[in-house]
């Protein structure tokens, strides 16, 4: 049972942005979702956990590894898929994975080959192992990305915004892959897409402006909102008026007309209907209200 403990983590960039503001988290085996809008500090946190960035203060330990003092020790048990995953030109999928495998310490070449074939097979790219990765589609590239992150039995896997820009099919495939990795390791999935978390994670945190605004299970948080979310279809020019009078969680267009969700302990009446809160409601509630 691995545990990642993040204590009082702070980071302020030279331009004054407070990217991490006293972040405290404790994460253990299983898939952990980190949800937040763009610019919430998710990537800063991910990079810090991946030893690619310094924190101003605070500690992070994985089991007994202090990742700031012994970054190399952490890297030995780390799988990381960054937000921006590029590849070398003119290098085939197999060559790329081979290179990363050596760097991660899989030194026996026969074992390495078997491992890479296994992973390529798992991400369903075995047929394309000889092709240049540069020419792959976004989804295929992300699958190579997850394959390289899985090399070397990592105990901590960090995937940063992996599904941005993928079509629904690719996204599903990707989710299946992550789910397959099993429950024996810590997987931190950072995303701004609520569905990713809903579909995959048993535990989650919501981050905004460098702060953790919520930590818990998705089910629990939705229970918290139960009976407090109301929905109504309105005219476009009424949005401002409703925003002034109600705690509007979200407004979105359905068939050309705005539908608003509002938060209220009791039924506001006035044509509002009760609705089962979804994770999106949670997200908006935590972030904007």
């Amino acid at each position: 049972m691995a545990t990642l403990k993040i204590k009082n983590l702070n980071k302020t960039y030279p331009n004054g942005v407070h990217a991490l503001d006293d972040v405290n988290l404790e994460i253990s085996n299983g898939m952990f979702g980190l949800l937040g809008p763009n610019g919430a500090g998710k990537s800063s946190l991910m990079r810090t956990l991946a030893t690619l960035q310094d924190a101003d203060s605070g500690t992070v330990t994985l089991n007994d590894i202090d990742i700031f003092k012994h970054p190399t020790e952490l890297r030995k048990v780390l799988g990381y898929l960054p937000q921006e995953f590029g590849v070398y030109p003119k290098v085939s999928a197999e060559q790329l994975l081979d290179h990363v495998a050596v760097l991660k310490g899989v030194s026996n070449s026969k074992e390495r080959k078997e491992l890479i074939h296994y992973l390529l097979n798992k991400v369903n790219l075995f047929d394309k192992k000889g092709q240049n990765v540069k020419g792959f589609s976004g989804g295929m590239k992300q699958r190579i990305g997850i394959a390289q992150a899985l090399i070397g039995n990592p105990q901590l896997i960090i995937v940063d915004e992996p599904t941005a820009g993928l079509d629904p099919g690719e996204r599903n495939r990707f989710h299946n892959l992550l789910a397959d990795v099993g429950q024996e390791v810590i997987i931190i999935l950072s995303t701004h897409i609520v569905d990713d978390v809903r579909e995959l994670c048993s535990n989650m945190a919501i981050m905004n402006l460098g702060k953790i605004v919520y930590q818990g299970s998705p089910i629990a948080v939705m229970d918290e909102l139960k009976g407090k979310v109301w929905q109504k279809s309105i005219e476009r020019n009424q949005i401002e008026e409703y925003k002034n009078n109600f705690k509007v969680i979200s407004d979105k267009m359905v068939a050309g007309k705005p539908i608003i969700h509002v938060y209220k302990e009791t039924n506001p009446g006035d044509g509002f209907a009760a609705v089962d809160p979804n994770l999106e409601d949670v997200f908006f509630t935590k972030v904007y209200l």
Binding site: T51, F85, G130
Partner: protein
């Protein structure tokens, strides 16, 4: 519309700083060159004005090569701006005209790229104005400006050069839409320029070289190669000569390229070609995995190696697959091959492709390309992960940063080496192709491993360090280039010679077939270790400061460094640091403490001080050497020489001498031992010593002195200071081992401007010629008063594998203590000028009239030995018959290593460099050639210089060097018996004279007052003597020389002057030709002959030929002003029966005609029809432009009129 695009181009450029920066750089560069003598652009200016029209043109032409980079920037921007900004689709959907768009941008860019080059003009104007005011140059060195200089240079160089370059760059940019390709275009132009330069090496192909030069530089230099200083100062470049033809050719080519590009240009965006997908159906069946395979993780030492290899492979593949690498690879091979096929020309002959020539070419060719590769890829590799956005993945793996950086460096080094090694393969193939089978692969590899490879390693490490530390790719490039090139210049300015400070520099390594890599090798090894450990040290530091992840700022880099600074790392760092420090200490001890050297500036100061302190002793009465007995022990392998010389000196004056003065050279430790004398001065700084004799040396009396002299090599040096003592090929002369008697004028600063700097008075190159000299003719110019004719005996020993040679007959040879001993004795008192040599020699001998002809040569160079014996014999035959007896019993040619490439005549011996003659390919060459000529020249010195020598004043070298060169020509003439062939030899001498006078730094004097200048005594001397024998007959010239020789040979002083020879000559010249002595010897006379018209008509099977000629005789003053002289000349007119080129020309008829008018029409009746008529057909007169002396005959259609 055209104007709109034109203006748009300019508008956008003038709002950016680039154009001003370039303009400023150009102006500054030229300004510096004008106001300072230390900044030189393409060669020194000499004594023409700093702002002379020829200087302006040279600067403009040379800087337009650099202007190419500016042009690339502007034309590339013009072509790609709209694409780069993705504006093209918007723009091209508007109704603009293609022509306006295309040409508007082109000419806009053209105009822009000429602007920075106009900075040159500003530099000249400011330099001329402020140079004298700042006091860095004197006002006499500034001339007046000519408007034509600016306008013509703009129209003839700046505009056409930018235009042509622009057409190529603009077309390539339009076609491929890539900045890299545009720079490749610029590179192509430069390479074309270099290749065309290889055509210029022989004067026969220089016209082609001039026309194929893209920049017109060579066309201009050939047009003006014989310009006198006055012409350089006054004549602006004009629209004429080869230059205008060259300009028109390239302009036309440019227009063709531009139009081609215009028609290929289209607004419709080209569809990117979809690459055919490779069907990579793998044959492997898809494995079925149920669970993850077993594998083990390993973080031990062996993994480091595997990680290193993996990084290395990834880096190497990326470089090898890149276009840049392929281009560099192809270009370097291309240039090498072009150079190889151009061959190793030496006066119209080819030398064998010996290994060292190939290695010099490889090193020369690979140099620039390797530097480009190292700089370019160091940036690419360091930024590769980040550029491809894979850095975070790689950085998050548990590898050491040093491993990754080291892999980058090593792959850089391997890629650089691949070019060098490939060039070696090409060279070896070439050697085989040429049938040269002595392929020395080992030598190639050694040269690579000692020389290039360590340099690549050092730079491979340092450049990666620079990129990592600066953490900005372009800053990194900038600093890399600065460090690579500017450091040299900086150290030159700061007068720092130590190679320990100039990154990557090592002592120069010269491979000689005789002496291998020589004494420098040891030093090079130590410097290599020093620089490589330095490089590794810095890479280790870079490994710590390498940014893992996305941290910014130096602080966080230090923080990260601390985290990664493990004990092991510290141990490595300290070890390397210790290795570097101890190497540095050792190198410092050897190059700065054990062996010292003086920098150029230190030397200058010393020279100036020496003159100021001791000039007062110049010319004081000193005894002269009459006999010397040398005991010399050479230890070639230790590079030690021990000399003991017993020197007999005699007071030849009529005054008693009470003290002896010496100047001692500091590279040899020389000690003088005198009995009954007291040392009263020992100035160690200048090596000046004075001994006071207890009893003065009376006139006519002699005394003996013992001189001990030692050269002993210690450790290793910053640069090998003494190549004359070598493991195989020792060659030194008596001047190095004996002290110099009295004050040595030879140490004085010679350069006019240097002297001014140290407040020294102006100095004549030579004392003035005197017609009635008494005291001033007591010294000859060679031994300068130290001796007249001396007896020499030598006991010399060397190691048992070598032969030691001293002058004179070998009296005895024996072996003792495992060493070879020899005793030589000179048979006739001779000049005090002797060489001592030792090497592993082969020996070829021949006896001719009781004279032993001997060639001592290296076993690798047997090719021409037989010919050399012949050449010596032919020379002896001609000279003994025409001039008089040879007084030695042997004539030796002795090979020495190529640290110098000359042949030199000592009494009875002629050291001859391995670089000339011995390796010239004479296979199948039956006719006489330069190898024979050089030997004939040196043999002639046995008479001219060694039997008769001039007093130390103007004109002295005429009857050593001019006579030797003339004698050599006569030996050639006798052997070839072909006047046209002789023209081939003469053209080298004529060219040497005309070019030499064009570069005259002071003033030109007629030959009878020559001041030891090679272009006059070799060049002009041989040409006029040759012409003279043509005019008055070979016998009469020889008779004059012989008479002169007989009057003075081996005579005690006074020594003869050139006037003594002219006295003998006048007696041999008929009255009708006496004017030649004045014109040719006592004045500077040039001819300007032209053939205007040549026609013929056929009458009764005979040909009536009529030619119109134009003739001028010009007298030049010392700075080249020419004055026309009245004509009353005898000049040849001739007709060729065949003339395809100079080689196969055949003279059908020639006649010497009296020419007394500027324009004359001459008529001849010939039996057969000639193809060409010529005035001075054998080119024996001194004339600058010869092309207009020839004309093809045309039939006269007189009847029709």
């Amino acid at each position: 519309m055209f104007l709109e695009f034109f203006k748009r181009e300019i508008d956008s450029a003038i709002r950016k700083p680039m154009i001003y920066i370039f303009f400023f750089i150009m102006a500054l560069l030229v300004f510096m060159a004008v106001v300072s003598d230390n900044v030189v652009i393409g060669g020194t200016v000499g004594n023409v004005y700093k702002n002379a029209p020829s200087v302006i043109t040279n600067y403009v032409a040379i800087l337009s090569i650099f202007g190419l980079l500016i042009a690339t920037a502007f034309f590339n921007t013009a072509a790609l701006k709209d694409y780069d900004n993705n504006f093209n689709e918007i723009l091209f959907s508007t109704p603009i005209s293609k022509a306006s768009y295309f040409f508007g941008r082109f000419f806009g860019a053209l105009f822009l790229s000429t602007i920075p080059l106009c900075g040159i003009f500003l530099g000249f104007l400011l330099g001329a104005e402020y140079g004298p005011k700042m006091g860095t140059i004197s006002v006499e060195r500034i001339g007046s400006f000519h408007a034509a200089s600016f306008i013509n240079n703009y129209l003839l160089f700046i505009l056409p050069n930018m235009f042509f370059a622009g057409t190529i760059i603009f077309s390539m940019a339009n076609k491929w839409k890539s900045t890299v390709i545009s720079f490749v275009g610029a590179l192509l132009i430069i390479i074309g320029y270099i290749v065309s330069g290889t055509l210029l090496s022989d004067i026969d192909s220089e016209t082609i070289g001039a026309l194929t030069d893209t920049f017109g530089i060579r066309a201009y230099s050939i047009d003006t190669k014989y310009f006198t200083p006055v012409e350089k100062n006054t004549i602006p470049v004009g629209f004429n000569g080869l230059l205008i033809i060259n300009r028109l050719i390239w302009l036309a080519l440019g227009v063709v390229i531009l139009l081609g590009s215009y028609f290929a240009f289209s607004f419709t965006a080209k569809q990117k070609k979809a690459k055919k997908k490779k069907s990579s159906e793998s044959l492997e069946t898809k494995p079925i995995f149920t669970q993850s395979p077993e594998f083990s993780l390993n973080h031990s030492g062996s993994l480091l190696w595997k990680q290193f290899i993996s990084f290395f492979k990834v880096n190497l593949t990326s470089m090898v697959k890149s276009t840049t690498y392929k281009i560099m690879f192809a270009f370097s091979a291309f240039i090498l091959i072009a150079n190889l096929f151009n061959g190793f020309e030496y006066f119209g002959l080819q030398s064998y492709p010996v290994t060292y020539k190939m290695m010099d070419l490889i090193d020369g060719t690979s140099g620039l390309f390797v530097i480009i590769i190292l700089v370019f890829f160091s940036g690419e590799l360091v930024w590769r992960d980040r550029a491809n956005h894979i850095n975070e993945v790689i950085d998050a793996t548990p590898h050491g940063s040093f491993t990754s950086l080291l892999a980058k460096s090593v792959s850089l080094i391997v890629v650089a080496s691949s070019i060098n090694l490939f060039l070696i393969v090409v060279s070896i193939c070439f050697q085989f192709m040429k049938g040269y089978s002595n392929v020395e692969l080992g030598i190639y590899l050694q040269n690579f491993i000692y020389n290039s490879f360590p340099t690549y390693i050092t730079w491979g490490l340092i450049l990666v360090f620079i990129q990592v530390i600066l953490n900005n790719k372009y800053m990194g490039y900038f600093v890399s280039v600065l460090v690579l090139f500017l450091l040299d210049i900086l150290f030159m300015i700061l007068d720092i010679d130590s190679k320990m400070l100039n990154i990557g520099s090592t002592p120069s390594l010269t491979y000689s077939d005789m002496n291998g890599f020589g004494a420098a090798l040891k030093s090079v090894h130590w410097f290599n270790l020093y620089w490589i450990s330095f490089g590794i040290l810095f890479l280790l530091i870079a490994g710590l400061l390498w940014i893992r992840g996305t941290s910014v700022g130096f602080k966080s880099r230090l923080k990260s460094a601390k985290k990664h600074f493990s004990k092991k790392y510290a141990l490595g760092l300290v070890t390397v640091l210790l290795v570097w420090l101890s190497t540095a200490g050792f190198v410092y001890y050897n190059t700065q403490v054990l062996n010292t050297y003086k920098t150029a500036d230190e030397m200058e100061v010393l020279q100036a001080e020496y003159e100021k302190t001791y000039k007062k002793y110049q010319g004081i009465n000193q005894p002269k050497i009459t006999d010397t007995k040398y005991h010399i022990d050479i230890y070639p392998h230790q590079r030690d020489v021990y000399v003991r010389a017993i020197v007999t000196i005699k007071n030849k004056s009529d005054q008693p001498i009470d003290s002896l003065h010496y100047t001692i050279d500091d590279s040899w430790k020389t000690k003088v031992h005198l009995k009954n004398a007291e040392q009263v001065l020992n100035d160690e700084k200048f090596g000046y010593q004075i001994f006071k004799l207890n009893t003065p040396l009376q006139p006519g009396k002699s005394m003996r002195m013992l001189v001990e002299s030692v050269y002993s090599a210690k450790g290793f040096e910053n640069e090998v200071s003494n190549t004359s003592v070598a493991a195989n090929g020792t060659f030194f002369n008596n001047f190095s081992i004996l002290p110099n008697f009295g004050y040595n004028e030879g140490y004085e600063l010679a350069d006019k401007n240097d002297r001014k700097k140290y407040d020294l008075p102006e100095k004549d190159r030579m004392p003035e010629l005197e017609s009635n000299c008494s005291i001033n003719c007591m010294n000859n110019y060679l031994s300068d008063g130290s001796a007249d004719w001396v007896n020499v005996e030598t006991y010399i020993s060397t190691s048992d594998d070598q032969i030691a040679i001293a002058p004179g007959s070998l009296v005895k040879e024996w072996k003792k203590d495992g060493r070879n001993h020899y005793h030589y004795k000179v048979d006739h008192p001779s000049q005090n000028f002797y060489s001592f040599m030792s090497a592993r020699y082969e020996k070829a001998t021949r006896k001719w009239n009781n004279i032993d002809i001997e060639v001592y040569y290296d076993s690798k160079h047997p090719y021409n030995v037989e010919r050399m014996l012949n050449a010596v014999q032919h020379s002896l035959e001609y000279y003994t018959e025409n001039f008089g007896p040879y007084y030695h019993k042997q004539a030796r040619i002795i090979e020495f290593p190529r640290y110098a490439s000359f042949a030199q005549a000592f009494p009875g011996t002629m050291p001859y460099s391995e670089a000339i003659g011995f390796i010239i390919d004479l296979e199948g060459k039956t006719e006489i050639n330069i190898v024979d000529a050089v030997i004939a020249h040196e043999m002639a010195h046995q008479w001219w210089a060694h039997q008769v020598i001039g007093s130390k004043m103007q004109g002295a070298t005429m009857f050593s060097e001019s006579f030797a060169e003339y004698s050599s020509l006569m030996v050639m003439k006798k052997a070839t018996n072909d006047e046209i062939k002789m023209k081939d030899f003469l053209k080298y001498d004529l060219n040497r004279y005309l070019r030499g006078r064009s570069n005259e730094v002071d003033k030109e004097l007629p030959i009878y007052k020559v001041e030891n200048q090679t272009h006059i005594h070799y060049g002009k001397g041989s040409v006029i003597l040759y012409a003279l024998q043509d005019y008055i007959g070979e016998d009469r010239v020889n008779q004059a020389m012989k008479g002169f020789l007989n009057e003075f040979k081996y005579k005690e002083p006074p020594y003869p002057t050139s006037l003594d020879f002219l006295r003998h000559l006048e007696a041999q010249v008929p009255d009708s030709l006496q004017y030649l002595i004045t014109d040719w010897f006592k004045e500077i006379t040039l001819y300007d002959l032209r053939l205007k018209e040549a026609t013929y008509s056929k009458q009764n099977n005979k040909y009536q030929v009529s030619i119109d000629i134009e003739a001028k005789k010009l007298r030049a003053d010392t700075i080249g002003n020419e004055l026309e002289q009245p004509l009353n000349e005898w000049i040849d007119v001739g007709f060729y029966s065949m003339y395809n080129d100079e080689e196969d020309a055949r003279l059908l008829y020639q006649e010497r005609i009296k020419i007394d008018q500027e324009h004359m029409t001459l008529n001849f009746v010939l039996d057969s029809l000639p193809v060409k008529a010529a005035i001075d057909p054998r080119r024996i007169l001194i004339e600058r432009v010869y092309n207009d002396n020839l004309k093809s005959l045309t039939e006269k259609n007189g009847e029709a009129n």
